[in-house]
């Protein structure tokens, strides 16, 4: 965090959905306000349905901003861009493409698939531990493997900001632990994936503390920032960290923050 200039600025952001039935607007995010610095791994937690996915989609350019600022590198986000990519909540690999074709999809869509892109894709396949499985089809992969491919696909376009929406939520507890370590390994590996800025959404506070530089706790919906918790454990982090008292204390603190948000929902409506 030597470079502390803001990559993403969120100022008094308001997002909402128009109901399909009566067209009425319901707010998903209101008065959201925080910054994300370059090379930071931000984890967002919050009560279910509070607006985390909506926020992430807005950053990806998939969801319109109602009002407020949502600036990437000083420019308001108005749509998707090659500087961002996203790992979706449910595995969204294209089943009609092979693993390798999935990984290079973004590069091809952006007409950037050249010798360097090909080499990068090969390198990523290796990095996520699937060397030699490039010709497999997604249906032949386990859930954990599929999410690794998803991660590789998001990294392939070399984005400035990578958005991850509960990427490990569908995995069993054991695989999830492995994937968290894998993610950190990739993050801390140096080379072409080093120091990426990322927003990672999860419901798992242990996952949050293990991965994050900072944990942003969202309030009950419509979401605003309830609290930002700095996580200062040294990197590289090892799995043993999860058993240290300080780690557990911080996870507990965040858990009670999220819980109090869920309970505070009623009183929060007019805030």
């Amino acid at each position: 965090m030597n470079d502390s200039s803001a990559l993403l600025e969120v100022r008094d952001l308001k997002l909402g959905h128009h109901s399909k039935r009566n067209g009425k607007l319901s707010l998903a995010v209101s008065g959201l306000d925080f910054d994300i610095r370059k090379n930071e791994l931000i984890v967002a937690v919050g009560p279910s349905g509070c607006g985390k996915t909506t926020f992430l989609k807005a950053v990806a350019g998939l969801h319109p901003v109602l009002s407020g600022e949502l600036k990437l590198d000083g420019k308001q986000i108005t749509g998707p861009g090659v500087d961002r990519s996203m790992v979706f909540q449910d595995s969204s690999l294209f089943p009609w493409l092979t693993v390798m074709e999935n990984i290079v999809y973004g590069l091809k869509a952006q007409k950037r698939y050249d010798a360097a892109g090909k080499a990068r894709a090969e390198w990523l396949l290796d990095l996520v531990g699937l060397a030699g499985r490039g010709k497999a089809h997604p249906s032949e992969l386990s859930g954990g493997m599929a999410q690794r491919v998803n991660l590789a696909r998001a990294l392939a376009t070399d984005p400035e900001l990578i958005l991850l929406d509960e990427p490990f939520a569908a995995l069993d507890a054991q695989t999830r632990e492995v994937m968290q370590e894998e993610l950190l390994r990739i993050w801390q590996s140096g080379g072409a994936t080093a120091g990426k800025t990322a927003i990672f959404i999860t419901h798992d506070v242990y996952e949050a503390v293990f991965l994050a530089d900072r944990v942003v706790v969202f309030s009950a919906g419509p979401a605003h920032v309830a609290e930002i918790v700095d996580v200062t454990f040294d990197r590289p982090r090892s799995p043993e960290l999860k058993r240290s008292p300080e780690f557990l204390r911080q996870a507990d603190e965040i858990l009670s923050l999220v819980m109090s948000q869920s309970w505070a929902k009623e009183r929060m409506v007019t805030a």
Binding site: K57, R84, S85, M86, F88, S92, F94, S139
Partner: protein, 280 residues
């Protein structure tokens, strides 16, 4: 000591291999079994038919017999009387299918993506789908006459509706997640259509085509029965009214073989282009 370790190790690894060896031939055996039983069933049916006909329990004047049918089929194949009707039926079926595919798929895609338009025409599609199309035949004849045009119209009428409906369903339920991936990667509209929307929809379109092919073939034959044209349907009718039961049965056999072949062909296309759909 080392020997025992090796031995137990060998035993351990031997067990799963044995299991697999049992598993694999079993599934193959099962496949072979259903093939053998299927063929046996057909042969048995033909045998019973032949015995009933030869023993005079049923009159072969009315029912023909497998041997008589095979003989007639051979004659019709060798003297060439079969080819013109086959060509005629396949022509109206083929043209009708081509028209159905060319129109029903794009219209279905548009209707699937435009809710207002879809709700506007939905009742019409439902009416066309639920009313047996044969009742429209007199009208079709009145509008289009009794030649080729009417037969093609009937094929289109029977094939286009199911194809239209499955295309609408596919376009409507196009997975948003897949589209979002393309959008996040800033894929152009054309690229998204070609690389995401089309492959995602293709399996549903192909199963719509499978349905349409079956209905279209029925449409082609029904049209010939009513319109007394040159195809296989009218051939059966002419042969039956001439009491040429062997020949009539032979023609029915040809129709059955054509139907099965066309279905196999569609199945082949499905396996080639939508192989991933059944496993996901």
């Amino acid at each position: 000591m080392t020997a025992t370790v090796q031995l137990s190790h060998q035993k351990k690894s031997a067990a799963p291999t044995d299991m697999y060896e049992k598993l694999r031939p079993k599934s193959k055996r099962l496949r072979n079994r259903s093939l053998i039983l299927g063929v046996t069933g057909i042969v048995l049916g033909l045998l019973i038919w032949q015995i009933l006909a030869s023993s005079g329990v049923v009159s072969s004047t009315f029912s023909s017999s497998p041997i008589g049918t095979a003989g007639a089929l051979w004659t019709m194949l060798t003297n060439g009387t079969l080819w013109a009707p086959v060509a005629a039926t396949l022509a109206s079926f083929g043209i009708g299918m081509a028209i159905s595919i060319v129109f029903a798929i794009p219209i279905g895609l548009i209707l699937g993506r435009a809710p207002v338009l879809r709700e506007l025409v939905d009742p019409w599609i439902n009416i066309l789908n639920s009313v047996p199309y044969v009742v429209f035949l007199p009208l079709i004849i009145f509008w289009f006459g009794i030649d080729e045009t009417s037969r093609i119209v009937l094929v289109v009428w029977s094939a286009a509706v199911p194809l239209l409906m499955s295309t609408i369903g596919a376009a409507r339920n196009l997975d948003r997640n897949y589209m979002n991936v393309a959008t996040v990667f800033s894929a152009s509209r054309g690229y998204t259509l070609r690389t995401v929307a089309f492959p995602a929809i293709l399996p549903y379109i192909l199963s719509g085509i499978r349905l349409a092919v079956g209905r279209g073939l029925v449409g082609a034959i029904v049209a010939e029965l009513f319109l007394g044209a040159v195809g296989l349907g009218s051939l059966v009718q002419v042969q039956t009214s001439n009491f040429e039961m062997d020949e009539a049965m032979a023609t029915v056999t040809v129709i059955a073989i054509i139907a099965i072949l066309i279905n196999q062909l569609v199945g082949l296309v499905e396996r080639r282009f939508a192989y991933w759909a059944d496993s996901s």
